[in-house]
């Protein structure tokens, strides 16, 4: 029982990271109908900026988060403006290939930057190796922090999308882009800001993941797990991405404990198959068709 709770927590914490990367997928997909396969690599780049923010500039942990999110927001907007916008209107396949290319480039660039390279780094956090003993359970403070910070970010994003003019406009232009144009919403700028937001969320995810996998140029492959998370939630649903991420994190942790070696790595895809079989549009799949 105690072990089960520990495992549930570890799985949830890991699921939070999947959830945030999946959230990035979904935001961009809803806005531009583009699946951004570079999302995991944006996360990786964000983690590297956080690393340098801490070691080079000497920022404290909280400032590191803001710094990495800000820098990545700019990177995300630049990517949209420079490589994505010019190919919009081309077949979806072209755009997807370009995002895959962007991922390769980001990984390549990181290995060329002095001080980053192909090494593995530890990102220091105020939580370190601290543990909390509750009853017989040993709980890593790190895991609680990841869960807490993810919850806080989700709350902020919820309030932003629900109540701010820009947030509602982002929803509006992803629901009906043509109507957004008619209402004078600068759709292109809004889409650029969504790329910025997604990249910032990715940076946040990278920082949360860093204590688990450390920071290295291939840490972005976790996107391969976050993608099923987005699909499970119903690609195109923000709450779905969160729930999907958590489900996959927890299932993975359980599979790692109770199933034979190797099941852990395919667990995410098994979940996808089961969910899609039962509910083809995903857990939170929207039935309303999007226009334009």
């Amino acid at each position: 029982m105690v072990q089960f709770v520990q495992m549930l927590l570890a799985g949830t914490a890991q699921g939070c990271v999947y959830a945030l990367v999946a959230l990035g997928f979904v935001l961009i997909y809803k806005a531009t109908e583009t699946v951004n396969f570079a999302q995991g690599d944006l996360m990786m780049l964000g983690a590297f900026f956080a690393l340098s923010g801490g070691t080079l500039i000497g920022l404290p942990y909280w400032a590191v988060i803001l710094f990495a999110a800000l820098v990545m927001a700019i990177v995300g907007m630049l990517i949209e403006r420079v490589v994505i916008r010019p190919v919009l209107g081309h077949p979806a396949f072209t755009v997807v290939m370009i995002t895959i290319g962007v991922g390769y480039v980001l990984r390549g660039v990181v290995t060329m930057v002095p001080g980053w390279g192909t090494e593995t780094y530890a990102l220091s956090t105020p939580f370190g190796q601290k543990v909390l003993r509750v009853g017989g359970a040993v709980i890593a403070v790190q895991e609680l922090a990841v869960i807490g910070m993810t919850a806080a970010l989700c709350l902020v994003l919820y309030l932003f999308f629900r109540y701010s003019k820009l947030g509602v406009a982002m929803q509006a232009s992803s629901q009906n882009q043509l109507a957004a144009y008619y209402m004078g919403i600068p759709v292109r700028r809004v889409n650029m800001l969504i790329w910025g937001l997604s990249a910032a969320v990715a940076a946040f995810a990278g920082i949360l993941l860093a204590p688990v996998t450390f920071v290295h140029s291939n840490m972005g492959f976790i996107g391969l797990k976050a993608f099923p998370a987005a699909v499970v939630g119903g690609f195109g649903s923000v709450p779905g991405a969160i729930v999907g991420g958590l489900i996959i994190g927890v299932v993975e942790a359980l599979a790692g404990r109770y199933l034979p070696e190797g099941f852990k790595d395919v667990a995410a895809y098994v979940v996808v198959l089961i969910v899609l079989f039962v509910r083809p549009s995903g857990i939170f799949g929207e039935t309303t068709m999007k226009k334009v």
Binding site: V168, Q171, A172, Q175, A179, Y182, G184, P186, E286, T288
Partner: protein, 257 residues
């Protein structure tokens, strides 16, 4: 005639290789209602899209109060005071009615004015107040049309472009919507360019009418006189001509040029 709010001069627009407008010139005086009649595919919607910046014309000028606005981005056109109520409503289906209305005011920076206009549109369309918190996608077609008009009003336009507001509505609702269009014009002084298939209604409320055929204006006149013309009566008002012509009508081609 009053000062001109909108002026189109020899506007040509295309969708790729398909030329939809072949040199359209028209003028909308300030404070008036002007209508463009035309069959399906004549290019009515294209005129409105060209004005609102959704598509850019290849040739010609679009002038708003004498200032050329052709080729501007749609949000700049809205800021200049022109709002387009598109064909087929185009609401934001998953946003609440109220959020839809707020998006209409996206370009505005005067919260007090927006609050006033919100009250004003609830006055025109009380049903929208009742449904303010409901998702727009759950409204009926007629209610969505009301929402589309109300949302456009929140941009505080000087000129409203309306594309077939009666499409798919019952005759009763059509009448109501047209009454409100007239009220908007009279009470708020909003100039209106109205595109309609329902020529009956359009000719009744508009001051001046243009007839568009395959991308060209083929006739213009006051609506009272247009309503008397035989061609118009026959092709847009569905009034059958009598005698020999009536029998041979299937052969006769529309010919105004």
């Amino acid at each position: 005639m009053a000062q001109s709010m909108l002026e189109l001069a020899n506007v040509e627009s295309s969708y790729g290789p398909v030329q939809a407008l072949r040199g359209v010139s028209l003028s909308v005086p300030e404070g008036r209602i002007v209508t463009v009649l035309g069959a399906n595919g004549a290019g009515k919607s294209t005129i409105l899209k060209t004005i609102s910046g959704i598509i850019d014309p290849q040739k010609g000028q679009v002038k708003l109060r004498g200032v050329e606005i052709q080729g501007r981005a749609p949000d700049q056109v809205v800021r200049a005071g022109v709002v387009h109520v598109p064909e087929g409503r185009e609401v934001f289906p998953l946003l609440s009615v109220e959020d839809n209305l707020r998006m209409g005011a996206y370009t505005r920076r005067d919260p007090d004015g927006v609050a006033q206009d919100l009250e004003a549109v609830f006055g025109y369309f009380p049903v929208l107040r009742e449904r303010a918190q409901q998702e727009a996608g759950q409204l009926s077609g007629g209610q969505q049309q009301m929402l589309a008009i109300a949302r456009a009003l929140l941009a505080k336009p000087q000129l409203m472009l309306m594309d077939e507001p009666s499409l798919g509505l019952s005759p009763k609702l059509t009448k109501e919507i047209f009454e409100i269009i007239v009220r908007i014009n009279r009470e708020r002084g909003t100039t209106i360019l109205l595109v309609e298939q329902n020529a009956h209604m359009a000719l009744k409320i508009a001051d001046w009418g243009y007839v568009l055929e395959v991308g060209r204006i083929v006739m213009e006149d006051s609506c009272a006189r247009l309503a008397e013309k035989e061609d118009i009566r026959e092709f847009y008002l569905g009034v059958k001509a009598e005698g020999v012509r009536g029998k041979r009508r299937w052969k006769k081609k529309k010919q105004w040029r």
